[in-house]
């Protein structure tokens, strides 16, 4: 991380200062509303999953879904507009800052936002009895790992798009299905085998399994090292790809 990466983060924070109230409110409120409506409403029919009340079973995963969506938004339409509409990425890379700073700076900024909504949501979830273990203190780490493993691959994808009519497709074909089928509202074991395999490939499911285990003080379905490995592969591949694609786009391949 260089001072230029911090400068890019600072740029995002300056811009965010003007909209943080509405944005932060919705970032916290959305998962809370889901928790109340589905946790209490649907939970009334479902009763318990693995001996845990349904609301507690979905609470921490719902936060991860909010983190995932927040990150996806920042990494797709925002990246697209900064590359194609306002071209502010081109302005940044004409300075001492380079592609790496554009990527790392945005991740740092996302971390701040994600950590803020994580802490706020967990405080509220605790009031609903959805936090049952001190392991919850690991949840910010899980949220950060999911945010990175989501942001970088989606940035790579968004950097290849030059026509904004494809943006809704990214949301409908990737973001929404990933949220619906990542073991948040029901376990992937309820799906046919081939569909479950797709779920296990998504970075969100690995965060969900870890977050649920942390909130409930249980052992995760997959071993910790396997979760770290999958999230790590998504992050590393996402970084390598987005860095390459951005280099080609803004520097014609220059360093």
């Amino acid at each position: 991380m260089t001072t230029s990466s911090l400068a890019v983060m600072e740029r995002h924070l300056i811009a965010y200062r003007r909209l943080w109230k509405s944005s932060a409110l919705s970032a916290v409120l959305t998962p809370v509303l889901f928790m109340v409506s589905i946790g209490v409403g649907v939970g009334g029919f479902v009763d318990e999953v693995d001996g845990v009340p349904y609301l507690a079973w979905i609470a921490a995963p719902l936060l991860l879904s909010a983190v995932f969506q927040q990150t996806a938004q920042e990494s797709t339409s925002r990246v697209f507009h900064e590359l194609n509409t306002t071209r502010t990425v081109h302005a940044i890379v004409a300075t001492s800052a380079g592609v790496r700073d554009v990527l790392v700076g945005r991740l740092l900024y996302l971390m701040i936002r994600v950590q803020f909504s994580t802490v706020c949501f967990l405080a509220i979830a605790a009031c609903f009895g959805a936090v049952r273990s001190w392991w919850i203190l690991a949840e910010p780490l899980v949220a950060a790992a999911v945010a990175i493993a989501t942001a970088l691959p989606l940035t790579a994808l968004a950097s290849t798009i030059t026509d904004d009519t494809y943006l809704p497709a990214v949301s409908r074909l990737i973001t929404v299905p990933v949220v619906l089928f990542s073991g948040i509202l029901f376990p992937p074991t309820k799906l046919p085998e081939w569909a479950a395999a797709a779920v296990y490939a998504s970075p969100l499911w690995h965060g969900v399994d870890l977050a649920r285990a942390a909130a409930l003080g249980q052992r995760p379905d997959w071993p910790l090292w396997a979760h770290i490995a999958v999230l790590g592969v998504w992050s590393a591949a996402g970084y390598a790809l987005s860095s390459r694609i951005l280099h080609r786009r803004v520097y014609d391949g220059n360093s």
Partner: protein, 307 residues
Amino acid sequence: MTGERVISAKGLAKRYDAFEAVKGIDFEVRSGEVFGLLGSNGAGKSSTMRMIGCVSRPTSGELRVLGMDPVKDGSRIRGRIGVCPQFDNLDPDLTVRENLYAYSRFFGIPRAKGRRRADELLEFFEIADKAHGKVAAMSGGMKRRLTIARALINNPEIVLLDEPTTGLDPQARHLVWERLHQLKRQGITLILTTHYMDEAEQLCDRLVIMRSGRFVAEGSPASLIRTYTQPEVVELRFASDDLRALAEKVDDLGRVEVLPDRLLIYTDRGNDVAARVRDRALGPSSVLVRRSGLEDAFLALTGRDAR
């Protein structure tokens, strides 16, 4: 041209897939110089600027900027130059002042110094009263000034200006020119591309004319005018549309250029030629004798492309 060499290029070329934008150009720029790249759209000016600005890798040839190699030392070179791109890419999410401040941070300039520099530049470009407004609320001329101001935030040794005044009204253009003159007086090396011959004539110490990725002429504005045109021009306008036929009737008087709306006769004795045209009773609707300018040299060199 006494300053040290700050940019040098040998056989510099840029190819995008099948399109060869720059086909091997050689040039040098010395510090404190104002160096202009002229040419029609697609002549290779912006591609050349992007290579100098270290945001585009040369396909072949040698390029040195401030003694460094843009491919290896891109970030270090970029830290010492300023870039005003052809199209404004200001940050719409930030205020005018924040645009300058945030940009200063990308160069690693400390916060307090960045703020001070931002305020100085807002004053210098007469946009201080807009400091806390949004970029979107500014006029085209103000946005352009802000983009040039942003290019100066790091006290660059070289400033690249890609069509700095395209699309501006005359007042806004003159204000930009005046500021660029001041930068020149401060000893900053300026490299600019332009379509405007008056701009090139006013600002540039030396310029090159590009056509299809190559240099077709190089020199000071005065020397280009001397070399490629006669000192005077007789401009003839006619009611008739058949200018080619009329051109044949005066082509013994000097080199004749047929433009869409008039004929130009290049000569060293404008008044004589004008009198002889009148004697031939061709009935021009107007006859004007003027001194040749850079535009005439440019037309002589690239005229066929322009039409």
